[in-house]
Amino acid sequence: MDAQMKRGFLDACVLASMASGESYGYQIIKDVPDSLGMSESTLYPLLKRLETKGLITVRKAEHNGRLRKYYSLTDEGRETLTEFLDSRQEICAVLDYVAEALDK
């Protein structure tokens, strides 16, 4: 997938990975679809950005004798995710248009 297109989807996917409850770095990398090519270098800045925007919150908790950071959605984050889903029609319309254009 194109890097520019990926960026918008990545935000949504990372937010979605916390929709059912808090998650942590490695879990998020595993959860996000492979097609987006998520790695630590992509995730770390992205989480920072989402946190700065107030879409997620972070807490530290002990796990296996070490500290692990857990991320969870804020109400605003959940709202952003809903808005993203609302654009499903528009995205589909764009894809349909491109597909049709190619078929012709």
Partner: protein, 315 residues
């Protein structure tokens, strides 16, 4: 590469970041490494599956928000109502970090120095020094004034002693008169000598003061009207010449006269004392004790008969 090496290399590559930001980023990578190992991967595999330290560092450094971006983020946060108290934190931290690494811009260095609280204490020290210097200056003048007063008092004793001499002669008590002649001579000789000393001290201090101020002023401005400002320089020079080179004979003559007066005074006192039959009361003059006047221990029957005595006693 093992975890420690990965951590060390990433930390080193993020050297330009503030320490807190750097630690946060490194701990994120180490956390996912540990999670991969917990998930069953070997340490080497876990490290290999991560971006290289160079890639990680580049991604972190590239993504640091610019100032504009930061401002935007802040407004978003404020709008969202989740604003924290430590918004100024990262900026300050970054600044302190750069300060520690001595990597500030010239303007920042100037600001750091100018706004340093050190200036307050330096100002206090300067103020204290000025006060101390002023106090020392005043004390020097007071000491010089004391020398003048001592000299003047000694000289002023001479006419007083002369009056007592006249009273002694009027009463026919000659040893007392002689002792007072001695007092007068001693007082005048010693007083003149002390006052001469006071004059020299005053001149010396004045010229020292003038010289020092002049040197300071010259250092600051080499304008020719310095001469006008301190036009009395020549006068000063001539006076200093007078006091240092010319007067030896004059000074020695003066000194000899004074010493002569003092010795003569002491001799007169000694002779008067012997003439009185070594009566220590010869030294005393009691002008008003319980309504009576005693001169050299002898009560005066009619004080009003003495020269100026009624005026002196206020009658």
């Amino acid at each position: 590469m093992n975890i420690r090496e990965y951590e060390a290399q990433l930390t080193k590559l993020l050297g330009e970041l503030p320490s807190k930001e750097r630690e946060e980023a490194v701990s994120f990578y180490i956390e996912t490494l540990a999670d991969r190992i917990d998930d069953g991967a070997s340490e080497a595999d876990a490290v290999a599956s991560l971006p290289t330290p160079e890639e990680a560092a580049q991604a972190i450094l590239n993504d640091r928000p610019t100032d504009e971006q930061k401002d935007f983020d802040l407004t978003v946060r404020k709008g969202g109502g989740t604003c924290d108290d430590d918004e100024a934190g990262p900026d300050r931290e970054r600044f302190i970090d750069r300060l520690r690494q001595r990597r500030l811009s010239v303007l920042e260095w100037v600001a750091v120095i100018v706004t340093s609280p050190l200036w307050l204490s330096i100002l206090a020290v300067i103020l204290a020094l000025v006060v101390v210097l002023l106090a020392v200056y005043v004390v020097i003048w007071v000491l010089i004034a004391c020398v003048w007063i001592i000299g003047a008092a000694l000289v002023a004793a001479a006419p007083m002693a002369l009056l007592f001499v006249i009273w002694g002669l009027q009463l026919g008590y000659f040893p007392y008169a002689l002792v007072n002649v001695g007092y007068g001579l001693f007082g005048f000789g010693a007083g003149m000598w002390v006052m001469r000393g006071a004059l020299k001290l005053t001149r010396a201090f004045l010229s020292w003061q003038k010289r020092n101020i002049k040197v300071r002023m010259r250092r600051h401005r080499d304008a020719p009207d310095d001469e006008k400002l301190f036009g009395d320089e020549d006068e000063d020079k001539s006076s200093s010449v007078e006091t240092t080179s010319a007067p030896p004979s004059k000074c020695c003559g003066f000194f000899r006269v004074c010493t002569g007066l003092v010795i003569a005074g002491v001799a007169c006192v000694a002779i008067g004392f012997l003439a009185s039959g070594m009566d220590w009361r010869v030294f005393l003059t009691s002008l008003y004790t319980e309504g009576n006047m005693y001169i050299g221990g002898v009560q005066v029957d009619d004080p009003s008969a003495l020269l100026f005595a009624p005026v002196y006693l206020g009658r």
